[in-house]
């Protein structure tokens, strides 16, 4: 299951960042590291970026990014 598959208000834990090293590092520094709790908050129109809560932050990720983050 990927982050993109989460429905609004659904929680999960990040299990794997399947993006290239630089982007994974950046996501990790922004709070998206393994075992972090993440909640999908908002789904926007036309398949646009979705909004997730990670710790104290609201982060928005595009489909391409979210589909490469595995959650469980």
């Amino acid at each position: 299951m990927t982050l993109w598959d989460l429905n609004p208000n659904q929680h999960a834990k990040v299990s794997k960042l399947g993006l290239d090293k630089a982007i994974s590092q950046r996501l990790s520094d922004m709070g998206f590291s393994q075992l972090t709790d993440v909640t999908c908050l908002f789904v926007t129109a036309f398949g646009g970026p979705r909004v997730y809560q990670v710790g104290e932050s609201l982060l928005s990720l595009s489909r391409e990014m979210a589909q490469n983050i595995e959650v469980s």
Binding site: L59, L61, S62
Partner: protein
């Protein structure tokens, strides 16, 4: 002794506002990530200590130019006289500190030179949250400052501390490890729920697939419509004052050469431009309010997908919107775009948006051709709607330009690494924004004023001489202007418009003041330019449209060309960009005239 402090921190942690407060500067602040794209430097008043504000960064892996700049400064500045102020949003204290300590370690920043500044404590107070300040300080073993740059709380203490020579125990790399471990055991009131509560309540509507899009369209339409509707009374007041000044001058000097010089050469020419400052004020004010509220980051998400189709991304939205005030801040804002190709496309197409310098020309043509009709009790007006459609025309041209570029010269269909942190919603500081917008207007007059003044003076002399002339058509200006006739005729324009177009390459606004000088030299009765133009019957619907198309495309702005030359790689020749824009402007204006005449 420390002589220089760098402000480090995540984007949107309030570094620039803190910099402004400590150095009494007025650098641009906004409530979204990436508002600062260059380094700002200034001395702290009353000291020799320099403060340097850097763009924010999240990670040691950086993509955009502004982040690269910040990272290079942070990691290479190891001089003994350099210190760092690490700014962290107080409501995100724990995650902010974890991120800061990770980066300090990765970038090999000497922890002994770092002081922590926890900013925005006003938001903690608002939510009645108490931070265990002593515990935090004892864990970090470094100076910690709990401040609010917005309300100026504890800023004097921070300033005094920076100027003092207090010493703290030296820490080693091992100490940094233990600090990180101790931090994880720090128990804090769950601040996240407070930070997110307000945002999520509003975002439920503002980001919803249906209402989010409706609100976005409404707010953008209201923005561009209001520029015209709200400014009308102020423009009338300026027109009335200028006419009063002209009459006063005429009363003192009577008729003759000097009265003509002051009224037609100076007041008319300069006034023709000054009259449009209310529109510039309203546009700047609304854009700055949107920036401060935190809504622009949401707008970025809403339009990301659509902009991708045109070879841009959500990150291009803020530069595009800013360029409606002026292309230069728009180009600087584009520096924070992570993808190189998207950044180039955004910068190359930005000059097609309707900047404030185009306003006077469009406003004049709308006043001439569109009669004022009001709908919904005056909420919407025909002239305002015409203005809105011109803004939409500019946006359409920008999107067509970026679409073509992304599919030809700068192919851009690659990855879509879009990540954006959403800021909390905040009330804009209306008074300060009004003050800044007023300063923008003054700066606008100062920048364009001298050029307009001297261009008009030159034109006025050419229109008045030789003194033996019995008719205006015998003046030097008319004789020279007639050389432009072969170029203007295919667009349905007269030589007068040709002269005005020529001077508009100095600055777009000069177009209106040039026409004003020419037509008032031709006519003895003092009247507003729109009336002079209507009376002269020199512009038809088709030629007016051709003129709009020419102005919408041509890149008549020396400052924009200079900044494009600085920010774009060498492979993009600025002369070539100018020629391509000019060729497209002339050709499409010609086609417009041929279709509508």
């Amino acid at each position: 002794m420390i002589q220089r402090y760098y402000l480090l921190g995540k984007p949107n942690s309030g570094k620039t506002l803190l910099f402004n407060r400590l150095t009494e500067s007025e650098k641009k602040v906004a409530n979204y990530s990436g508002a600062t794209t260059v380094e700002n430097k200034a001395l702290i008043p009353g000291s020799q200590i320099e403060l340097i504000d850097l763009p924010g960064f999240y990670s040691s892996e950086v993509f955009s130019d502004d982040e690269k700049l910040a990272l290079s400064k942070a990691s290479q500045t190891q001089n003994a006289d350099t210190g760092f102020l690490y700014v962290i949003e107080a409501l995100k204290l724990k995650s902010g500190l974890i991120n800061a300590l990770t980066l300090i370690k990765k970038l090999s920043i000497d922890i002994n030179k770092v002081q922590f500044v926890f900013n925005m404590i006003d938001e903690l107070e608002l939510n009645k949250i108490n931070l265990p300040q002593n515990e935090i300080e004892s864990i970090l073993k470094r100076p910690c400052h709990f401040v609010s740059a917005l309300t100026k709380k504890n800023l004097t203490e921070l300033k005094m501390n920076l100027l003092s020579l207090d010493t703290f125990p030296n820490l080693s790399i091992e100490d940094l490890e233990s600090i990180q471990n101790n931090l994880s055991s720090l128990k804090l009131t769950p601040t996240s729920s407070f930070a997110l509560k307000n945002s999520t309540r509003l975002d439920r509507y503002l980001l919803s697939p249906l209402w989010g899009s409706v609100f976005f369209i409404f707010i953008m339409s209201a923005l561009f419509q209001s520029i015209f509707s709200w400014s009308s009374p102020f423009m009338d007041a300026i027109e009335w004052s200028l006419s009063g000044i002209s009459q006063g001058v005429a009363g003192v000097l009577g008729e003759g050469f000097w009265a003509n010089f002051f009224i037609d050469g100076i007041i008319t020419g300069f006034g023709a431009f000054v009259i449009f400052t209310p529109q510039i004020f309203i546009l700047t004010f609304i854009i700055k309010c949107l920036e401060a509220s935190g809504y622009l980051a949401r707008a970025t998400i809403i339009c990301h997908k659509s902009l991708r189709f045109f070879g841009l991304s959500g990150e291009s939205f803020i530069p595009l919107l800013s360029s409606h005030a002026c292309a230069i801040p728009g180009i600087l804002a584009a520096k924070s775009i992570k993808s190189k190709k998207e950044k180039w496309i955004t910068m190359l197409c930005l000059p097609l948006t309707v900047c404030s310098a185009r306003l006077p020309v469009y406003a004049l043509l709308i006043y001439m051709f569109i009669p004022p009709i009001y709908y919904l009790g005056g909420l919407f007006g025909s002239q305002g709607l015409a203005f809105l459609s011109l803004y939409l025309f500019g946006i359409t041209l920008t999107l067509i330009g970026s679409f073509l570029l992304s599919r030809t010269l700068i192919p851009n269909k690659g990855q879509d690494p879009f990540i954006l942190e959403l800021p909390s919603y905040r009330w804009p500081e209306f008074f300060n924004i009004a003050k800044t917008s007023f300063k923008v207007c003054i700066q606008f007059i100062k920048d364009a004023g001298p050029m307009i003044f001297f261009a008009n003076l030159g034109l006025w002399f050419l229109a008045q001489f030789p003194l033996s002339q019995t008719q205006f058509s015998e003046s030097y200006l008319a004789r020279m202007g007639r050389w432009l006739t072969p170029l203007m005729e295919p667009l349905g324009l007269a030589w007068e418009h040709g002269v005005a177009l020529l001077t508009s390459f100095l600055a777009r606004e000069t177009f209106v003041s040039t026409l004003s000088t020419i037509y008032s030299s031709k006519n003895d009765d003092p009247m507003a330019l729109k009336e002079l133009l209507i009376q002269s019957q020199s512009l038809t619907w088709a030629s007016g449209l051709a003129l709009i198309v020419f102005f919408a495309i041509a890149l008549q702005c020396v400052s924009t060309l200079a900044i494009l030359k600085k920010e774009l790689p060498k492979k993009f020749s600025v002369t070539m960009i100018f020629i391509v824009y000019l060729f497209a402007a002339y050709t499409l204006a010609w086609m417009t005239y041929q279709i509508f005449s």
